[in-house]
């Protein structure tokens, strides 16, 4: 199976290679990336860390990028106040913007051929889909925030429009913050409601000493889309990275996050919420690697699965020998609403030094009967009561979304997903 898919991949690459933009990634590099991918093979469900991923779309898809089209954008959410918006359609810049003060934003339009592209996969233990991105990327947005800058927020909107039979889209992002810089970035993936799109994004975050990045990622693709994603982050001393991920859309989604805390005192928090319904499969694999002393990480996951859906969180924390004085917390919770749905929580800890403080907990269960009855006894309808409790369950994560507009929009998306907007909007 894998072999046949890889052969097709090579053929497709051969056919489009000459047309892929050199300014994004040089042709030779693309070839190397594909070779590296072929050497490792595509992920399969027998791979330990891909057990919960729905990989079928990868087998059927056309890998080559979808053609650039003059397509009309679907209606977009209003831009959150205080954020500069860039829109990408099927992996290419569609709507440009003026970069905030102290920030340089480069895309395929502005990059010189031969300018230094970045490699995402350098130290990733799981880089295969990032290699796929590197092979086919049609654009790349590279954001540099100058040292010491407190920059205005930036919003990156990736819109998927093409069907997977027409080709995939490859959002590619690099966020680099200079020493002491601070910025908030919203990254949203959305698409036409009915599009069977394949999106494979790759994001790299590079934080210099004492830089602070708040990064909101919202996946609200159409109900038929497939989303694959690889995010890597490197944190220097005293850097702080707050990553908040909401997964609501797509038929199947898999995000792989790898953060390396390589500078003393670096801190990262990952808060993720997943709401899976119908036949959805939402999978998040997060690896936090403590390398330097006194580094701190926090992983919070709240996942709900209804009907035949699945929500999975595989959270691994590695504390290297060099990472004395590490503090690591994990709180993973799943909520099952139905008998055929599935929640998979895998907290994993690997510790190679003594002086560490690690706490982790993982629980999955049904809606609390006492809470439900309490709501009914106040006149709330059973359906609304259930939705309300699901809502409350996700609040631990959603409440952390600081931009008001964005939080509203995410809340509305989640409620829309619960198909009970009317009853519940009162309770927001």
């Amino acid at each position: 199976m894998n072999g046949a898919v890889l052969n097709r991949l090579k053929e497709e690459f051969g056919a489009v290679r000459a047309a892929l933009p050199e300014s994004v990634i040089g042709s030779a590099r693309r070839g190397e990336a594909l070779e590296a991918l072929c050497a490792q093979g595509l992920p399969g469900t027998r791979d330990e860390n891909w057990r919960y991923t729905d990989l079928r779309r990868l087998e059927q898809a056309r890998f080559a990028p979808a053609q650039a089209q003059a397509a009309v954008l679907p209606p977009l959410p209003t831009a959150p106040e205080g954020y500069v918006r860039y829109v990408f359609l099927d992996g290419r810049l569609h709507t440009d913007a003026d970069a905030p003060h102290g920030v340089v934003v480069r895309t395929a339009r502005s990059q010189e051929p031969g300018s230094t592209p970045w490699r995402l996969e350098a130290r990733l233990p799981e880089a295969r889909l990032a290699l796929l991105n590197e092979t086919f990327a049609t654009d790349a947005v590279s954001i540099d925030v100058a040292p010491g800058t407190q920059a205005t927020g930036i919003e990156l909107l990736f819109v998927a429009s093409a069907a997977a039979t027409e080709g995939a889209s490859y959002p590619r992002v690099r966020l680099a913050l200079g020493a002491g810089a601070r910025v908030s970035v919203i990254e949203r993936h959305l698409g036409r409601a009915e599009a069977h799109s394949l999106v494979n994004s790759a994001v790299h975050v590079d934080l210099a000493a004492a830089a602070t990045l708040t990064h909101y990622r919202v996946q609200q693709l159409g109900a038929q889309a497939a989303w694959f994603d690889t995010l890597s982050a490197e944190l220097a001393a005293e850097a702080r990275y707050d990553l908040l991920a909401v997964g609501a859309g797509a038929l199947s989604a898999r995000s792989t996050v790898h953060a390396r805390l390589s500078g003393r005192g670096a801190a990262m928090s990952l808060a993720a919420a997943a709401l899976a319904d119908g036949q959805q499969s939402l999978d998040l694999y997060a690896l936090s690697e403590h390398i330097a002393p006194h580094t701190r990480t926090e992983q919070t996951f709240r996942g709900i699965a209804s009907s035949r859906a699945r929500a999975a969180f595989n959270g691994k924390v590695i504390v290297r020998e060099t990472a004395r004085g590490t503090d690591s917390r994990q709180s993973l919770r799943g909520l099952l609403d139905g008998t055929q749905c599935e929640i998979d929580l895998r907290p994993q800890l690997e510790i190679y030094t003594d002086e560490v403080r690690c706490s982790h907990g993982a629980t999955a269960g049904k809606l609390d009967e006492n809470m439900l009855f309490y709501l009914l006894s106040r006149g709330i309808a059973p359906e609304a009561a259930q939705h309300l409790l699901k809502w409350a369950f996700l609040e631990d994560v959603i409440a952390k979304i600081a931009p008001r507009d964005l939080r509203r929009q995410v809340e509305t998306t989640l409620l829309g997903q619960m198909r009970d907007l009317d009853t519940l909007k009162e309770l927001l």
């Binding site: 009855f373 309490y374 709501l375 006894s377 106040r378 709330i380 609304a384 409350a392 996700l394 309770l427």
Partner: protein, 249 residues
């Protein structure tokens, strides 16, 4: 208002209520006392329609209608209110919004429009002052992190805002300090009206000094074994339940 006849109810297959008879006329406040485990909370939950509490025989009529035929939420909208012995914490569900949703559910049921947001908040604030509750409790999750006494006050606050026809208060006085007890009693008293009834489950005569009941009933082993006026509560305080348990057997 409330007429219970020969009520039998089981929980997990075990019969807890065994032929309970009770009549609470309109405008009256009745107290139910009884030893631990006698079935007081079971009765309260049966009245509120809690799933898992199965009525195997008997009838309950509320304002002349078959209460048992209604779902829990319908009972609430019709004006039955249960003040929980152990109010539930629901983190993430805002206290005031739940209250508003509850009010609107009842209004929709009566064919009335939604409550005006501003008027509603004014009303809630006023009731909160009555209950000596801090404004910050408005914005917190339902009972989230509330102390035992604060939870009980929150129950009464909900009751005051919802203005039920029949309030069943399950040990709302337990865990309250002396001042809080007076506040709660005052809250309950403000709701006394010719068209409302209240059923107070309590262990203590103390509460009944502040809320003078029209009748006191003693529940032992799933049945009302004695009814009387408020002096019965005083007698129970002195003599305990042993003499009645003997009678019940």
């Amino acid at each position: 208002m409330l007429t219970i006849k020969n009520l039998h109810a089981t929980v997990d297959g075990q019969e807890i209520l065994k032929g309970l008879e009770l009549e609470v006329p309109e405008g009256e406040v009745h107290a139910i006392m009884g030893p631990n485990g006698s079935g007081k909370s079971t009765l309260a939950h049966v009245l509120a329609g809690r799933p898992g509490y199965t009525v195997t025989a008997g009838s309950v009529h509320f304002k002349g209608r078959d209460l048992l035929a209604l779902s829990p939420e319908e009972r609430a909208r019709e004006g039955v209110f249960l003040g929980f012995q152990y109010p539930v914490e629901i983190p993430g569900v805002n206290n005031v919004y739940l209250l508003k949703a509850a009010v609107n559910a009842a209004r929709a049921h009566r064919g009335e429009p939604e409550v005006d947001a501003f008027e509603f908040l004014t009303l809630v604030r006023e009731k909160m002052r009555l209950m000596r509750m801090d404004d910050s409790m408005l914005s917190r999750g339902v009972n989230e992190g509330f102390s035992g006494g604060e939870k009980k006050r929150n129950e009464i606050l909900q009751m005051l805002v919802l203005e039920p026809s029949l309030a069943v208060l399950d040990e709302t006085d337990s865990g309250l300090d002396i001042d809080a007890l007076k506040i709660v009693a005052h809250g309950v008293n403000t709701l006394r009206a010719p068209n409302r009834s209240q059923l107070l489950v309590t262990h203590y005569q103390r509460l009944l000094e502040h809320i003078v009941p029209d009748a006191v009933h003693v529940l032992v082993k799933g049945r009302i074994v004695r009814s009387g006026d408020r002096t019965l509560a005083l007698e129970l305080e002195k003599r305990g339940y042993d003499w009645l348990i003997g009678e019940a057997a």
